[in-house]
Amino acid sequence: MIWTVGGGKGGVGKSLISSSLGISLSRLGYRVILVDLDLGAANLHTCLGTLNPQLSLSDFLSGRQPDLSRICTATEFPKLSLISGCHDALDISSLSSEHLAPLMESIKKLSSDIVIIDLGAGTHFTTLDFFLDADRSMVTFTPEPTSLENGYRFIKAAFFRKMKHLEKKFDLGTFISEVMDEKNRYQIRTPYDLIQYIISQKPEIASQIVEELNHIRLEIIMNQTRSLNDIELGNSVLSVCRKYFGLSVHLLGHLDYDNAVWQAVRKRKPVLLEFPHSVISGQFLRICKNLIDHKSKRAVV
């Protein structure tokens, strides 16, 4: 299982969420590997405590260490290890797609129950491709317009990236690009409209396209909630995403704004370790149980 945590904007809690989910899941008995793909701005190792990994992703990407599993650094949590992005070359954020494919393949081959990938901010193609390729794609929001704007933008970018892939896969020529460009002519405003249009125009491949899109499993986390309204905003974002994108979207839960977080970060300790009885630690556990219950339910069905 590969899970990714994205969000478009920086500072919305992607690394905090990745590391805390990793710790919580490992405590629940899962073997977890965290991958820091926030290339150029990696700090997942700091979120996990003051680790200073000797090897990092750049050793793999440069070919010095072709075996990704050897880059895994043990953490103080027994079942949790880290593939760090620290010590990276300074031009690493402009990773091209030819580097990307082998990395994804190697990540898929890692022996663990769950791989959690911490994505970078922005809508770089690398970020989007990892996001789309995952079994679960989580998007982090905070209740601020800047975060909402970037978060929506991130999902939009991922959606159109996916549509581009589908265009290639089903050999549609420039069909999708055309529809996306000539918005006015076809009266297509939202991705939902776009899908409906494709379904009506290309009924022979409609079911396959729907299948492909249903494979994207978006999950929203509302971070830094300070009031009931902020929590409700999570529900509203969920509804807007469903109506706008028409994709399968779920709300995993909310995380309260908690002073424990910055206090733990300044001590360079995971908040779950430093403040195990804080509100946010409980909320992480709840989100984890949500994630796992869903999985077991799906397995039964």
């Binding site: 209740p143 317009p145 909402l148 704007e149 929506y152 933008r153 009266q187 405003r189 939202t190 939902y192 409209d193 899908i195 409906q196 379904i199 009506s200 009924p203 409609a206 079911s207 729907v210 899109l213 249903n214 409700e232 905003l233 529900n235 509203s236 974002v237 509804s239 807007v240 469903r242 109506k243 706008y244 028409g246 994709l247 399968s248 979207v249 779920h250």
Partner: protein, 220 residues
């Protein structure tokens, strides 16, 4: 924006066709908060105009689904013809193969007539012209008449209590003209104004009438 109209009322409120009335109510409240003009969730996604259109659809969906009779009519009209799209949260469903078999879900074509519906913040009700004129002619708005209005507008006590934020104990006391259980007149006046507002009555007239009745009964 045609596509919004193609979704059925259950999809619009994001509920299953088997949803219970309280679930419909909750879904409606959520949807109204989401697509209201002040909602942050719309930022950079839907324009004010589109949000307004969605909000109109939400209101329309609730006007039908929030009313047991209309919902039943709608279900037989629409859902028996087209397969209900069970769970909106599972993404897309492609439309039935033969388009002729699937009736359009455009609101205008629905047999359910929504033009005779009155609205309160709590939901909708069938307008009865006789009762409307009775309300217009009523001189004394006492508790029992307020109850009649509430029942005519298909509002439950607990629902009214939620909207007006008045304890159900006081609402009952007001309707039963049980003045000894009510607080000081200045508070009662506030209650009556809230109730009249929720039931879409003329606040001033109702409050004045009720307060006169209230004070007369107390002998002040």
């Amino acid at each position: 924006m045609k596509s919004f109209g193609e979704r059925n009322y259950y999809n619009i409120l994001e509920i299953a066709p088997t949803a219970q009335p309280h679930e419909i109510r909750r879904a409606y409240e959520k949807a109204r908060a989401t697509y209201s003009a002040t909602s942050d969730a719309l930022y950079s996604i839907f324009t004010a105009e589109e949000a307004g259109e969605l909000l109109k659809l939400v209101e329309e969906a609730y006007a039908v689904l929030g009313n047991a009779q209309l919902r039943k009519a709608y279900d037989t009209q629409v859902l028996t013809h087209a397969e209900p799209e069970q769970a909106t949260n599972r993404g897309f469903h492609h439309p039935p193969i033969s388009s002729s078999a699937a009736p359009s879900l455009e609101p205008e074509e629905m047999a359910v007539d929504v033009s005779h519906l009155g609205h309160t913040p709590m939901g909708s009700y069938q307008i009865d012209p006789d009762f409307e004129s009775a309300i217009a002619q009523q001189d004394v708005f006492d508790g029992s008449f307020l109850r009649k209005v509430r029942e005519y507008k298909e509002v439950t006590l607990s629902h009214l209590s939620q909207v007006t934020r008045i304890n159900i104990f006081y609402l009952k006391a007001i309707e039963e003209n049980d003045f000894t259980s009510l607080p000081a007149p200045v508070f009662v006046r506030g209650f009556i104004v809230q109730i009249a507002k929720a039931l879409k009555l003329e606040q001033e007239r109702v409050a004045k009438s009720y307060m006169k009745y209230f004070k007369d009964s107390l002998g002040k």
